[in-house]
Structures are given as C-alpha cells and as structure tokens.
Amino acid sequence: MSICIKGTGIVSPQKTFHDGGFPDEVVEYRGIRYLKCIEPPYREYIDPMTGRRMSRIVRMGICAAKKCLQDAHVTMPDAIITGTGLGCIEDTEKFLTSVIRNGERLLNPTPFIQSTHNTISSAIALSIKCHSYNSTYVHRGFSFENALRDGIMFLHENPDSNVLVGGLDEITDHSYLIMSRMGFWKRKPIDNLALLEYGDRGSVPGEGVSFFMLGNRTDDDRNCVRIRASDILYKPQSEEYITLKLQQFLAGQDAGGIKPDLLLFGLNGDPRSDSIYHNIHNILFRDCNLAYYKHLCGEYDTSVTFALWLATMILRHQQVPDVIKLKAFEPGEINNILIYNHVHGINHSFMLITRC
C-alpha cells in the first residue's frame, strides 16, 4: 500500500491549527473533566451566511479540511471520506431533547438535519463544490480506520488522485455524563499532563478534528511521510493473540519487516486499558522509544488521528516533543513510527508510519 500524507489540518485541545509543526507551547489544563478544542478563527474559512446554522463540530470540520487542502496545495480532492464515532452528537442531543420536551410538536428542523453523521463530509463538499466520491464511517474505535481503508482502496483504484480523509468527534455535557456513569472517565477533575499518574480507573474524554490529504505521490520529497501499513483487530480473544497479530503486522508484506524507531501508544490513564500497552512494550519492544499522546487530546473514538498527525510532524521535523516521551528515550533518527491504539479493548488499530 504505502500511501503518502501530502498535507494535514487539525483542530485539537492543543494549539495545532496554525503552526506548521508541533506547537512550541503545550497547553496545560488543570482541574478539568474533559478536554475541549481550541477553536479556529471560523470567519477566515466560513462566511457567516453559510455558517449560520453550523454547529461547532461542523465549523471545526470545515476549517480543518480547508487547512488540509491548503497544506497539501490541493484545491479539489477526488474523494472526501470521514470517520466519526458519535458524529454530530451536540445536534443529536438537541433534537432528541426537543422531541421529548416539546411532546413531538413544533420542532426546529436544523438540529435534525445536522444530526446525521455525514453532515461534515457533505458540508465540506458543499463548501468547495466537490462532486466526487463522498462517504462517512461510524464504527466506534474503527471509524477512522474504516475511512482510511476506503481512502487507500480509492488510491489503488485511481492512482493519480488526492483523497481527503478525516476523523472527528466532539464532546458534550450529556455524553460526558452518560459515559461517566458507564465508568469510562475519572471521577475527579484532573490535570491533563499528569494523566498517567492518577492510577485510578477511567480516562479523560477529549475531542478533535483531523484531516489528511492522501496520495500516491508527492512533489515535496523532503516533507513526505507515508502510511506504510494499517490494520485492525476486532475483539481479540487474548493479549497473546494481540501480540502475535502485531508481530505478523510488522513482519507482513506492507510493513516489510520494519523495526519501529518510536512507538506511539494510546495510553489513556486507565490501568484497565493501559496494561496491554506496557506489556506489549516489554514483550516486543523492550528497548524501543515509547511515547503517548492522549494527555494532549483526551480519549475519543477517533483519537488515533491525533497520533497520526503527531507521527507526521515527528517524521517531517525529526523532533520528538518532550511532553510525549514515556520510556527508553534514545536520541537518533526517527524513520518508522508504530501507532497502536485500542478503544475499550474491542477495537484495536495498528499503523506503521514511515519517512519516504
């Protein structure tokens, strides 16, 4: 496969929107229950008349997508593909609430229209008048992975094309409350940079919108970063099985027996889900540099896109930000990064990112 990342655009709880690389300053949030995005300057990307009905995630989505188009020097993509776990959950909650509270009468249609999961991919298409292939995947911790698979297939079918692929999710008070009751989040407010130090159950929720322009080739070899291989694992029966599958993934055809220089793992501060990352590091990659990222963006279904963006920046600029380093840090060239993330132990995702 080996697909080139030609550009990125990302809105996250960090100052990732403007800077070309990893931001100089890390945003620290103290005493928080969830991480929210730093919103981009909407007016620079969306005229107020067009944006009059758009919810926060739709606005953020359009900004990130347009930023990605700029970064990749592409005006019209040949496909727009998004992945989202919960979609436009804010408008979904708004409409559901009004259905119940108003007794099914006199309902404003806008939140219903914008509750559909394809709202953002189609709003991007509408904003740039793109009539090409357009799709949206909505499968929990595989939402982005499903979209990425589609993008990779599209590039095989249409080798000269540019494919805009993105992952997005938003946090709301209601979804935070409901998932807290399910035991997913920590009971007390936390400081994000100390996420791994608490030791109690639960993680901290976050959100983000990231877009990537994928192509088979790039005009700019210096900045070229490739997705060398990606795979998913659904409900693996044991840790041994995950380890075996990860070994097979790295030895496989696409990965070409590559040994990673950096591991970017989805540790989220919940011991129940973090043990697998430590075990795999110990068993397979004892001496390999280990980094993590969810203290910067929080946990959400498509958080792996933050890791993919981070990997792209590290490979492009050959700099590993101190704030993500966790274990065994050796200085040296970084040519290959392995991203491993799982959501609730059900949806496991591997990606191998390399320099061209």
Partner: protein
C-alpha cells in the same frame, strides 16, 4: 431481509407480486402522530424480534441491531455458510440513527435526572453497536465497518464491500443495513414537512411526500474465486457501483439532478455498460416533490428517449433510510432471479416535467440482465448500484 412487507425474502416476494403496501397506521411506536402519519412498521415487538434474532435477553440490543441480525442470519443461511472462519470474512452495515430507538427510552428518564435512565438502553446508541451485535451473532471477526451517509448508507455498504473483495482484502463480505422506526427520525422528517399524511405516491403528479419505514437487509458477497466453488449458490453479481456528491444544498437535491446523474453514470462506467444495457431501475423515488423531479430528470438525461422500466418500491416498504439501499438491492435480486418487475404503487398521473411513467403493474413479461438501484441521501450523498445476472458476459 425483513420489512413491513414481510419477515423474509420469500414473504416479501409474495407481497410485492400482489401489489399490497406494507405502509399503514403506526401501532407499536408510541407517538403522538399515530393517527396522522402512516409508516412501514414491522408489526413485531422487540421481544418477538429478539427470539427471531436468537439474541439472548441479557445482551443489550437496539431494535436496529435485532432487525439487522435477523436479516443477516437469513442471508448467511441462504448462502449456505457453514463455517465463518473458512474464509477471510467481513461485515459492513449501514444505518443512520443506529440505536436511537433505545436512546429515546433512556433520554426520557435522563432529562429529568442525569442519574436516571438504564444504561443498557444507551450503550447501544452509536451506529457501530448494531454492527457489532450482528458481527458477534454471526461470529464475523476479520473486518467490521459501519457506514452512515444518510439514506444511501447501505447502498454504500454494498459498494464498500464489493471494493474490499476486489482489493483482495477479504474473500467474503456480508453487506447491508438496518434501521428501526424511531421518534427521532419520524419527528425529524415531520419537521421538514415532507411526510405524506396518506400513503406515498412516488413519481405521481400529485405526490406529497414520503412515508418512513423500518427494516433490514443483507447480502453475502463473495470473490469470484470463492463463489465459483459452488456456483449453484450464486444469485447474481454486483457489476457496478457509483458514488457522487450532489453538493447543492444541505437537504435539497439539485433541480437538474446533477449528483444523481453522476452516480448513475459512474455505476455504468464501473460495470462497463451502456445506458441501453439497463433493463430496470429501482428508483430512490421517495415521493417528495424535490427528489422525484430531480431523480426523474437525471434518469431522462442519462437514458434519453429509451428509459428502462422503472419503479419505486418505497410505496411498499416506506423509506427505510439507512436500510433502504440494501432492501432495494434485495428487491432487485428478487427481480433478477424471478424475472419480474414490481410495481410503483399509487401512481396515477405523470409529472408535467417528465416524459416517462413508472411501471404500475407487476410485470413478468420482462428479460432482465442488468438492473440499477438508486439511493440518495441528505447532504447529496448519492450512490447507485448495478446488479446483473451471473455470467452476463456470455449473454451478449
């Protein structure tokens, strides 16, 4: 498949032949609109569906998940799959509202008190949940995906699954979609003022909106190599698919049907067929002013004076949103296998803007080789699928 016109494909086939609609008064969904808004409701309680789906009571499962599992089990049985681990097998499902039917129950309590509401009613909320319920019920492990592109969701499942096979990633893929009738979608479409208070009249001059429906349908797709090992199981072939974006308006279709034309044309190109090769179109045909005009003009633009037989079967099933593409694909399979075209009910008078009328009686005097199915969604997400009798190259 399961829908308002039958609980499996055989029943559906019998009902479609008799031209009897499944749309009627809503009796199971508790809504204030029960006397005003007819729908294609499946007259089975969640308990009854659980039994049919062989889903144990202890597992939380939405109505969407149950409908999906019932339909997917039927497809797997018909395809005579004995061992799911025999080949690299995936599941791709499309839905728009996912487990919203349970979330509505949860939310009534939750809105009064954030500590209230049973969590088992909300763990099934997201779209991926119904897919995982189906995958687990069938023991599918190698690949799972869920698509949500509004009313074209499950048409895109067929498209994505076909491409997963072509790319060599999978040998077999179960594709389709599921959608339960919910207060959310019923009130949503009502707030758009596009629900007909009578039974819908697709492509009719006096059409006045759509009726919602619920249901699920799945198809088992196999790579040529696997399918050929037991050719007697092959019902037909997915030969073409096209996906395009109308990019005209958030909800409305473009007046000239540009996106619809693009997706139909792309499907013809992937199938390497000419417009004249298409023998039947199962139209999206919702019955709204906007869709039928836009789709009708796109059909005229693509097919010129030689318009194939065409009908909208939403007049039987109601518009099943995320499941519609798969339900109509199964109806197309029934058409191909039985060489019959099902009618477009309630059609009386041709639209002023169009030069063709849909088929309004059941037609068995047909020779069907290639049939086309359209599914168009909000946001202009348009998808067209072409199904052909197996080995059609030899027929030319």
């Amino acid at each position: 498949m399961i829908s308002a016109v039958g609980n499996d494909a055989d029943e559906v086939f019998q009902v479609l032949k008799t031209a009897k609609t499944g749309i009627g008064r809503i009796s199971l969904l508790e809504t204030v609109h029960t006397d005003e808004l007819p729908a294609g409701e499946i007259k089975l309680s969640n308990g009854q569906l659980r039994e049919m789906a062989e889903m144990p009571a202890r597992y939380p499962c939405s109505r969407t998940g149950l409908l999906g599992l019932i339909a997917a089990r039927q497809a797997v049985r018909q395809a005579k799959i004995r061992d799911m681990g025999e080949f690299r097998t995936g599941l791709v499902s499309g839905t728009t509202a996912g487990g919203m039917d349970r979330s509505e129950v949860f939310y009534r309590s939750f809105l009064d008190d954030a500590g209230k509401g049973r969590l088992r009613d909300v763990v099934t909320h997201d779209c991926g949940d119904s897919t995982e319920s189906i995958a687990d019920g069938l023991s599918v492990r190698d690949y799972v995906a869920t698509i949500s592109t509004a009313c074209s969701s499950s048409a895109n499942s067929i498209l994505y699954g076909s491409r997963l096979l072509k790319s060599g990633m999978l040998d077999r893929v179960i594709v389709g979609g599921a959608e339960a009738l919910t207060l959310f979608t019923l009130n949503g479409f009502n707030s758009l003022m596009i629900l007909d208070r009578n039974i819908c009249r697709p492509f009719d001059l006096n059409r006045n909106g759509l009726n919602l429906g619920e249901g699920a349908a799945f198809l088992v797709l196999e790579s040529d190599r696997i399918a050929k090992q037991e050719p007697s199981r092959i019902l037909c072939e997915v030969t073409g698919f096209g996906n395009a974006c109308d990019a005209y308006h958030q909800t409305a279709s473009s007046p000239d049907g540009h996106g619809a034309w693009l997706s139909m044309n792309k499907a013809l190109m992937t199938a390497r067929l000419h417009p004249g090769d298409i023998d039947y179109i199962n139209a999206h045909g919702t019955g709204t002013q906007n869709n039928d005009l836009s789709e009708g003009l796109a059909i005229e633009k693509l097919f010129g004076a030689e318009i194939p037989l065409c009908s909208s079967t939403k007049s039987f099933t109601g518009h099943t949103l995320g499941a519609a593409g798969a339900i109509e694909a199964v109806i197309c399979v029934l058409s191909l296998v039985n060489q019959v075209v099902f009618p477009n009910l309630n059609f009386n008078q041709r639209m002023n803007e169009l030069h063709f009328s849909p088929v309004n009686t059941c037609r068995s005097d047909v020779h069907l080789r290639h049939v086309m199915s359209n599914s168009f969604g909000f946001g202009g997400n348009n998808t067209t699928i072409i199904l052909s009798v197996y080995g059609h190259e030899h027929l030319h």
